[in-house]
Subunit: 321 residues, 2 copies
């Protein structure tokens, strides 16, 4: 085997906080609007520069986010922070524009089975709709991104052929004119080899596009997949405070990678996030209190640096290794 | 920055199961000998080729493993499986040899603070003792390995200078004649950058030595660190069935990387372990039942492949991504 060139890790990465959307929509109970607003405001003060604040889906489809307009109206817009919203269709785009979101995030399922199950249309139909939503955003002067759910694994179809993912990205970039493309491991199936090879190939094929990774920690590989993304030069990751998000296919399983776990690892590796981990951990605690649970290693165990305050007599057993 | 050459991942790796030692010693309650024997026998039938079965420490130091002789006498020795034991001192080595262990595993804390706290002697003194233990093993014709606790992070001293770790390995390899050296992230502080640079440097400096990594998942980085080890060409990892092991410095935190999570990720990446994951998961369930807990993502969520059996109607919400 020939050793390929190793790309240096990015010097800095951007973490997009998706907890208020991907997390809150998975909570059984409706989180009061004032709690959402308080938590989003707190997240705004951690150094995060992108927050997916809500989703303009039909209130009957996701009643947990039926207060999208009110959330957008009531949050304090911190300077330098992009407040985006997930938008499923034209009606959602109109609502999002009216609510003055900074960015519209479209999601399309890369596999037909998941698209039919999730959006009641084929991927091809969803892409046509994405094009219309992108056009609406453009007309309104609002940034638009697209993310491909199940691109790194579909619960019905398994791992998609790379060619299918590439063709979808080509359509997004070349037909819809979208410059930023998310690649999602929606149900936490992906492994680091798949992440690295997929992202390397996509970056080679679309050198001008900005790629982000949306990872779940369902099978414990979330941070390994983040590392694989860094190996491939990806510098944009979604994550969810307190690890909210769940996985509809794996009851009891963890959700998105926890923002604080991702930030902790990146900063420990010397990759800058510009996020203040102590402030983020404080918000994670508030989120945990608000929703009654969390899936976050650092929230549970503390940071590596905090450990250095450990007292010597708290220990210890012969042979601990 | 100049891109370094990327080493191909190992084609196959060996996973050493340390649950019966590192895991069982952390359990508050004594696990009955017959349960230990049953679980070790079950582990022996999964394809695992190395099992650290117990520890010949003083029974008062770790009463949980006071049945070391009985465990070694009663287990079925599966052909091709190496049954090792942790040995802290000369007396332990004599006991281990008498119990016919296949291999003696020595542990020395790389930091003085941890060594003093854990073994009541400096690292230097512990190395001298390790040399005597190694000599005893050699005389008896028993394989000996050494592992350096806290080499990738000490709760008292933080991250050790690489030069200290290298000097200890040099002493182990060149003075004690030990061919296999473990590098441990004892309290789960290490990050992938540290793991990769440390292991690459050690492999360059000691090309004839066999290195293994002992990783904990305390801060969620366990599998990312495993990946970083593979990046550095490491093909030998410790792991603990059901994620047993705990971390004395982080109450409630997870322990060693779970063997089933490690095997799952490696096999998904195309790196052979020769371990049958279905059989291993069945043992992990038995372990979970025996000790009343587990820290294992795959045990909780199922494997990526199992997910493909998921039924379509189990889902799903618009906007899941």
């Amino acid at each position: 085997m020939i050793a390929a060139a190793r790309m240096p890790w990015p010097e800095a990465v951007t973490v997009c906080e998706v907890g208020p959307r991907d997390g809150f929509q998975m909570e059984h109970a409706f989180i009061p609007t004032e709690v959402k607003v308080r938590l989003i405001n707190a997240l705004s003060r951690t150094g995060l520069r992108e927050i997916q604040a809500t989703s303009f889906v039909h209130p009957k489809a996701i009643p947990q986010l039926r207060d999208a307009e009110e959330v957008m109206a009531r949050i304090d817009r911190a300077p330098g922070v992009v407040y985006s919203a997930l938008v499923p269709n034209e009606r959602g785009a109109e609502r999002a524009v009216a609510a003055r979101v900074d960015r519209i995030d479209i999601v399309v399922s890369a596999s037909d089975s998941h698209s039919l199950s999730n959006a009641n249309m084929t991927t091809d139909e969803a892409m046509a709709r994405a094009g219309r939503v992108a056009a609406l955003g453009r007309e309104a002067g609002t940034d638009v991104t697209i993310g491909f759910a199940t691109a790194l694994g579909c619960p019905f179809e398994g791992f998609l052929p790379y060619a299918r993912v590439e063709a979808l990205v080509a359509r997004a970039v070349e037909e819809c004119g979208l410059a930023r493309v998310g690649i999602a491991d929606t149900v936490g199936m992906a492994n680091p080899a798949l992440v690295r090879t997929t992202m390397e190939a996509l970056r080679r094929r679309f050198p001008a596009a900005g790629f982000s990774l949306h990872l779940h920690n369902t099978r414990g590989m979330g941070l390994a997949n983040l590392l694989a993304g860094c190996d491939a030069g990806i510098a944009h990751f979604d994550a969810s405070v307190a690890g909210l998000g769940g996985c509809p296919y794996a009851p009891g399983a963890t959700g998105n990678i926890a923002t604080e776990d991702a930030v902790h690892m990146l900063e420990e590796m010397g990759i800058a996030t510009r996020i203040r981990l102590d402030a983020l951990l404080e918000v994670a605690r508030q989120v945990q209190e608000a929703v009654g649970h969390a899936e976050s290693a650092v929230l549970r165990a503390g940071t590596s640096r905090m450990l250095l305050g450990a007292r010597r007599d708290g220990q210890t057993k012969l042979g601990a290794s």
